[in-house]
């Protein structure tokens, strides 16, 4: 397609300049983002288009990079805890857990059993919240406007529940070294049970209304097929690799907390396309409901806070703790020099690895499919940029 020549003389930035035009003539270089409806925040993807086919795509990150890892070197262990809620605002409790778990592992802090159960419960509730937002936003990418409001209606219920115990609605800072911040009360449990009942019905409705929709299936099936090999090479985890048929879930692979005692399945789909990733997330919500039920049945009485020293100074050494977030494996690599401040905190964000395969997946697809692929990877930009 030809453009008016004025555009070619536009001043451009570093990334536009380094994204040189390919060998082919008549291609169009298009900046999707940093402000674009399909990039879920401030992600920028530079694409080279031939008509509407993508010849090459390159994501450009860093628009909301906040250098969390540097902050980790400047704050004490406790002061750094609230940062975790800001890394991934959709599944904040998992990040809480990854960091708190790493510190506990390094400092040898014991966590009471009740606290472990509460952690599992809140983490699973939060996982459903995250998947619901993804579900709505993904369908918005595909041009269906309504599901996101249905999803938010359900999520609102959950946020109200979580607000009772955590005191916040989005950027939770609920976990503490050796326990959690506050105990759950009966109303919390009752509300959660009500939600589980209600949500099972809603999931059926979603399936009838959305999942079985012909247009949706045509937009998702065989789109962005990710083979097991590619998924592994890119370090994809979470629903992305489970959508390729690998039952890799940190909750089972490297069990932590009380997950070994709980009975749940790891849904996998072997197609590897956007639809498989979609189905994995929907099934995961059902499994989360199962986990929540079991946790509430088994939750013992007792303390919610273990013994922790007043000023936390873990011994010299390093540790790596991983949990399963809504987007995949969340890892915290923590190095301590024995002082009250971490020597080095490395945050392993699942979305970062998941997004890195986008350039390969989107090659040769239509823009609309690229949008579908991007959505199916479930991006949370603050987590990717950190």
């Amino acid at each position: 397609m030809t453009m008016s020549p004025q555009l070619s003389s536009d001043p451009s930035d570093f990334y536009s300049q380094s994204f040189s035009k390919g060998a082919r003539e008549n291609t169009l270089i298009l900046n999707m983002g940093p402000q674009h409806p399909s990039t879920h925040g401030v992600l920028r993807v530079i694409v080279e288009l031939d008509g509407e086919y993508i010849v090459r795509a390159e994501p450009v990150l860093g628009y909301i990079h906040r250098m969390h890892e540097f902050m980790g070197q400047k704050k004490t262990y406790t002061q750094y805890l609230p940062n975790m809620g800001r890394v991934d605002y959709l599944h904040a409790t998992a990040w809480n857990w990854a960091y708190v778990g790493a510190v506990e592992q390094l400092a040898g802090i014991e966590v009471p059993e009740r606290a472990e159960y509460i952690r599992v419960l809140t983490c699973e509730i939060n996982r459903i919240c995250s998947h619901l937002v993804w579900w709505g936003a993904y369908l918005l990418d595909l041009g269906a406007f309504t599901p996101i409001l249905y999803a938010f209606e359900d999520r609102e219920f959950l946020l109200d529940i979580l607000q009772r115990v955590t005191g916040s609605r989005l950027t939770y800072c609920y976990f503490r070294f050796g326990g959690v911040y506050a105990d759950v009360d009966d109303k919390f449990i009752d509300d959660t049970r009500t939600f589980i009942q209600r949500f099972r019905k809603r999931l059926k409705m979603y399936e009838a209304l959305v999942t079985k929709n012909f247009i949706l299936r045509k937009r998702c099936e065989d789109i962005g097929v990710l083979s097991v090999q590619t998924a592994r090479k890119y370090g994809c985890t979470g629903p992305v690799i489970r959508g390729s048929g690998v039952p890799y879930d940190v909750r089972r692979a490297v069990p932590y907390s009380v997950y070994p005692e709980l009975d749940f399945e790891i849904p996998t789909f072997s197609e590897g396309d956007a639809m498989a990733r979609y189905m994995v997330r929907l099934k995961e919500m059902e499994q989360s409901l199962r986990i929540m039920e079991q946790v509430m049945d088994r939750m013992p009485d007792g303390d919610i806070q273990g013994k922790t020293p007043k000023t936390l100074k873990p011994p010299k050494g390093e540790t790596y703790f991983a949990v399963e977030g809504a987007r995949g494996k969340i890892g915290v690599h923590l190095v301590s020099d024995g002082s009250a401040t971490p020597y080095r905190v490395k945050l392993r964000a699942p979305g970062y690895s998941n997004l890195s395969c986008f350039a390969e997946l989107s090659k040769g697809t239509l823009i609309a499919d690229a949008v579908s692929i991007l959505g199916s990877l479930d991006l949370v930009i603050p987590e990717i940029d950190r």
Binding site: M1, S4, D50
Partner: protein, 171 residues
């Protein structure tokens, strides 16, 4: 709409202005899309002329086919080919202007001479021909001309398709 006879000189002037303005824009604009816009304007004016001649069906067809379809195909062609859609400097060279003048003036001369020789001024409005009779005539007496025009449209469409395919093959 025979009642509106009294207005016809003004309408004629208006349509003439539209046609002339559009044609001049089509011929003189260096920007291809603007030239196309001029062409569309001229075609709309021609449709008005058909209305003046009491041939509303032909006028509608002029709008439907030329304004609505052919110009869209031209737009497509501009976008599909490597033609610079913006201002193209090489159009200004003197030899091309000369060629353009020859191409433009010759039909003008022929048409004017033909008009002066063969047509007398006609005041009466031609009768409105119903659509079914038009259809009959097009498929019997004027079948050849009708088919030739279809061939023109077909070639335009096929050209667009071929251009599209060639781009796809070059991938």
């Amino acid at each position: 709409m025979q009642e509106l006879q009294a207005l016809s000189p003004y309408a004629y002037g208006l349509y003439l202005l539209i046609i002339l303005g559009g044609s001049l824009a089509a011929a003189l604009c260096k920007n291809l899309i603007r030239a196309m816009a001029g062409l569309i304007t001229a075609m709309l004016g021609a449709a008005g002329m058909y209305m003046m001649l009491n041939a509303p069906f032909v006028a509608m067809m002029q709008v439907l086919i030329y304004v609505g379809a052919v110009s869209v195909l031209i737009f497509f062609a501009i976008m599909l080919t490597k033609t610079p859609a913006g201002d193209s400097p090489e159009l200004g060279s003197s030899s091309k202007i000369a060629a353009g003048l020859v191409v433009g003036v010759m039909p003008f001369v022929f048409l004017v001479s033909a008009c002066l020789n063969y047509f007398k001024q006609q005041v009466e409005t031609p009768p409105d021909i119903p659509v079914d009779q038009l259809g009959q005539d097009l498929l019997t007496r004027y079948a050849l001309g009708f088919e030739l025009i279809s061939v023109v449209l077909f070639v335009a469409m096929a050209g667009a398709v071929i251009l599209g395919f060639e781009r796809r093959r070059s991938q």
